[in-house]
């Protein structure tokens, strides 16, 4: 009888437990779902489709892997110009032009590929020939752009008396009173290795290494090396400096913070603090410094030190002093007293007790933490650099602001990822060497 009732009780208990577990198992996803619905409304996700600029996305993606060459003829003096991305550094020297253009005096034919041709004929006459539509002619008559386009013009044409722009998949033609300009798209990153002023532009790697000397004053390898790093369009040297600056910001900030935090951590650790009031005060300082976020420190410091890597390094230094102070003092509280007593028994003075009794115990833990922060601060330095204007973060924001240098943005992003991964690998390797088995889970 008793057996039965206990069994019944047990069964009841088990059933209750299962019901409760079932309820929790259902309630947690329900709460998460409800929260997501709330955020969906609060962030106006539904309105995103209206706000999203898909044309921007297309520009971005297209620009990230292709570039355009501007081919233009001036309508007044018939001067021809060829410039990659329309920039001065990408302008072809006089008398030189891309191989898909054939020039005859002031006339020329631009081959846009797939049977599309733009012909610059006598006077200001320009024709656009394509297998997809009837040939379009454009000409400037009495300062008005005259075309043979039907009225209304197709939607891929934007036409007025002063300006006609024809956008096709093969390329774009813009005809204004001052000039007729063709934009031809090509794949790749333009002039990544050499600008047009360099004799090595368009020369293959094999020819540079083994071919005839292209520049009388320098050997090919030296010249190519100099021209690559001196590339005025991509500024490889400056970009590398910026990357170095970012790592330097993280290095100075992290290790500077560690140097400041270590003595303070002794004051904040329970077993080393000379006075309770001091310990309490130092702890509150650490909490305050950590609570005032890196963002606020960055703003405060940039007011005093101006834009540049110095502000970034100091912002990391100040923020991490708080974090290090806290974790160092925790590590110090966990030291083994026996080792200190052992050192003391040999007649060691207090400083010697710290040096030989405490430091050897905590060094691996502290160094491992410092290295972990160093690695994660490389990322932070990129972010802080974007705010204060230093390092690769500055280059990134500058390239983004122009809104047409997406190939450079892509280049910088790749470099940042490589930089962070290299730092990850180095710091991970060092940490593994320092303490076998990183128990911290970081």
């Amino acid at each position: 009888m008793t057996m039965l009732s206990t069994n019944g009780d047990l069964r009841q208990q088990t059933a209750d437990l299962f019901t409760r577990k079932k309820r929790i198992a259902l309630a947690v996803p329900a709460v998460i779902l409800a929260y997501l619905v709330y955020v969906f409304i609060a962030f106006d996700v539904a309105g995103l489709a209206d706000r999203a600029r898909m044309d921007n996305a297309r520009t971005l993606v297209a620009d990230a892997y292709s570039y355009k060459t501007h081919v233009a003829r001036d309508n007044r003096d018939a001067e021809l110009s060829f410039a990659i991305e329309g920039s001065r550094a990408g302008t072809y020297p006089a008398g030189e032009y891309p191989e898909w253009v054939s020039v005859d005096g002031t006339n020329m034919v631009v081959d846009l590929g797939a049977g599309n041709f733009v012909r610059y004929l006598d006077d200001t006459l320009v024709t656009f020939e394509s297998p997809d539509f009837d040939t379009i002619t454009l000409q400037l008559v009495n300062d008005v752009v005259v075309t043979n386009l039907p009225d209304p013009a197709p939607d891929w044409v934007n036409a007025s008396d002063t300006r006609v722009s024809i956008t096709t998949d093969a390329g774009r033609l813009t005809y204004t009173r001052s000039k007729a300009e063709v934009f031809r798209y090509s794949n790749g990153w333009e002039l990544f290795f050499f600008t047009l002023t360099s004799p090595y532009h368009g020369v293959g790697l094999g020819d540079i290494l083994t071919g005839p000397q292209l520049d009388d004053s320098r050997s090919n390898i030296v010249g190519a090396w100099q021209d690559f790093w001196g590339n005025t369009l991509w500024r490889h040297t400056d970009v590398m400096w910026a990357l170095g600056e970012t790592v330097l910001m993280a290095f100075l900030g992290t290790f500077g913070a560690a140097i400041i935090a270590l003595p303070l951590a002794f004051l904040a650790a329970k077993n080393f603090a000379p006075v309770v009031a001091v310990r309490f005060a130092v702890r509150r300082v650490f909490d305050f410094v950590r609570g005032v976020d890196g963002l606020i420190w960055t703003i405060i410091l940039s007011r005093a030190f101006g834009p540049g890597p110095l502000t970034g390094a100091l912002a990391i230094l100040v923020t991490d002093t708080g974090s290090f102070g806290k974790s160092f003092s925790e590590a110090l509280e966990n030291v083994d007293e026996k080792q200190i007593e052992g050192v003391q028994s040999t007649g060691a003075k207090p400083v010697q007790r710290y040096r030989f009794g405490v430091i050897p115990q905590v060094t691996p833990i502290l160094l491992s933490q410092i290295l972990y922060y160093f690695e994660s601060n490389t990322r932070s330095a990129t972010i802080i650099g974007a705010i204060t204007g230093g390092g690769i973060g500055l280059f990134l924001t500058q390239a983004m602001q122009t809104q047409n240098d997406w190939e450079k943005v892509t280049y910088y992003i790749i470099l940042i990822v490589i930089m962070v991964m290299v730092m990850d690998t180095i710091s991970g390797w060092l940490r593994r060497k320092l303490i076998k088995g990183d128990g911290d889970g970081h």
Binding site: L60, E245, R290, I300, A304, P307, P309, L310, T382, I383
Partner: protein
């Protein structure tokens, strides 16, 4: 006897010599590393100082000008402080929401990625290196990079920040999660497999209950970090309190009471969530060990 003692003392002598030589070598190495470190710190500081617009020594006396200005202006208009705090409270909520949603989404994504990239648990063991590399790249990309690109396409607001932080969080948590999952006991998984459970059932019932406390603890820590990140992303145009802070800063002198209100809100929020998260993390990890 004399011979014996002589040889022993000789042995001790050589042992001592060896020990001293080793100590000297270690000291020399330590000294060299320390010297390199000091040189790096000094030259690094000089380089950074030279490449900055304002120098360190020129800026140092002005360090407290701005905080003093903010505090004095906020003090002069202390009566407006409650109103200012109330004005910026919705922006603060937005910042916290960005952090919360991105942590949630990132943690769920990280969970899946971690299970797919852990030896012994992965659904497709051959693809483990692929998922690991994906997580490495997600982790390496700073949030600001993704946020800035998305702001260009989606316009300003909380969504670019949310996606950016969630992306980074998934990579960061995925790695930590997978380290925990590697130590999980495989017996429940085998047991479930023997009764015919499929992969998702094995993971849900066999692995997740084991690792949940650690996962939750890491997620809470990440939430703390993400609040800071979401404030920073606001500063570059992604909405929330950071965005308001940038606007308040452009008002400049005379309206620093607004900036002060934002500083106060941000400070209190960070400290509040720091405390909550560390309390629950302690509880979770201790409860797990007991």
């Amino acid at each position: 006897m004399a011979e014996l003692s002589a040889s022993t003392s000789l042995g001790t002598q050589s042992m001592r010599d060896n020990y001293m030589a080793m100590t000297r070598r270690r000291r020399a190495y330590g000294g060299i590393i320390l010297a390199i470190f000091v040189v790096l710190m000094v030259t690094g500081f000089q380089t950074v100082d030279a490449r900055s617009a304002g120098g360190f020594w020129a800026g140092l006396p002005q360090l407290f000008d701005f905080p003093a200005g903010v505090v004095s202006e906020a003090w002069d208009r202390i009566d407006r402080m409650p109103a200012n705090l109330a004005t910026y409270f919705p922006a603060l909520i937005e910042t916290i929401n960005i952090a919360a949603v991105s942590t949630l989404v990132g943690a769920l994504l990280g969970l899946v990625l971690s299970l797919l990239s852990t030896r012994g648990l992965a659904k497709w063991p051959r693809l483990i290196p692929v998922f690991r590399r994906i997580m490495d790249i997600m982790r390496a990309l700073p949030e600001i990079v993704i946020a800035l690109v998305l702001i260009f396409i989606l316009g300003g607001g909380p969504i670019p920040a949310m996606i950016a932080i969630a992306f980074h969080t998934a990579g960061a948590l995925g790695k930590l999660f997978s380290e925990v999952a590697e130590n999980a006991d495989l017996k429940p998984v085998e047991g479930l497999a023997s009764v015919g459970a499929n992969w998702s059932q094995r993971m849900m019932l066999g692995v997740i209950p084991q690792v949940a406390p650690n996962y939750l603890s890491y997620t809470l820590m990440r939430f703390e970090i993400n609040i800071r990140a979401s404030a920073i992303l606001g500063f570059v145009g992604a909405g929330g309190i950071g965005y308001e802070l940038r606007n308040a800063m452009t008002f400049g002198m005379g309206r620093f009471d607004l900036a002060a209100a934002i500083f106060v809100l941000l400070f209190l929020t960070i400290v509040f969530f720091d405390q909550i998260s560390s309390y629950y993390r302690n509880k979770l990890v201790k409860g797990y060990q007991a």
